[in-house]
């Protein structure tokens, strides 16, 4: 793994990026695995914060469709929760980082998209090590 020295602004450990030109099948499998972890983390985060009725309503409205598309998910969250979206995104990133063993810094500004990219790369690196 290539460790990058950076003053990242997102609240996670900086694991740097791994080259993308590796086995596409393995990459696809890792992305699928990541997507599954992410969707279950989002479900837990929303369920734990706002209860299962709210989760079911939001699921029926399509909140979790394509949840691994961070831009799309962020847009949907903003349209429902406004400023509260950032709170839910922090809960998601914190849980996701805990599951993947990525350090989380609650003091740093959250960059949701970048945080998910880092988590995805960690997932990919782990799949290569297995």
């Amino acid at each position: 793994m290539r460790i990058r020295d950076s003053s990242s602004t997102n609240p996670h450990g900086d694991f740097g990026s791994v080259p993308r030109s590796t086995d596409p099948d393995r990459r696809f499998a890792a992305e699928k695995a990541f997507s599954s972890v992410l969707v279950s983390t989002v479900r837990e985060a929303v369920g734990n914060a706002l209860g299962h009725n709210v989760l079911e309503i939001l699921t029926a409205k399509g909140l979790l469709d394509d949840a691994s598309n961070s831009k799309e998910f962020d847009r949907k969250l903003q349209s429902i929760f406004g400023n509260g979206a950032a709170v839910l995104e922090r809960i998601v990133v914190k849980d996701l980082n805990r599951k993947l063993g990525i350090p989380y810094n609650s003091e740093a500004r959250l960059d949701y998209e970048k945080s998910l990219e880092t988590a995805k790369e960690v997932c990919f690196v782990e799949s290569k090590l297995k």
């Binding site: 734990n48 914060a49 209860g51 709210v54 309503i57 847009r75 406004g82 709170v87 839910l88 609650s106």
Partner: protein, 98 residues
Amino acid sequence: MSGSEVLSTLLGSEIRGDLLVLFHKNPGLIDTADGVARRIGRATVTVISDLRELLQLGILKQKRIGNSDVVFLDRAKDRDLLESVANHLKTVRISGEK
């Protein structure tokens, strides 16, 4: 208070989000402000105003045990408030929703 206002109060800050998750994951939890702050990895002084907001909303209750003031989840109120949030969200349109 409308479902929309309840939602804004519940998700009013990151700490409030952490407190909600803590009490929903541990609905029987009874602890002091110090203990609650420690459980979410914060200093007591940073959680006091958010605890106050949740106490004012009624989702948390406070009582005195011995020499300590403790807070705990009011499960019935929690259910009512989350139901009002759910009813509000039924009427909200997600952008791009068919």
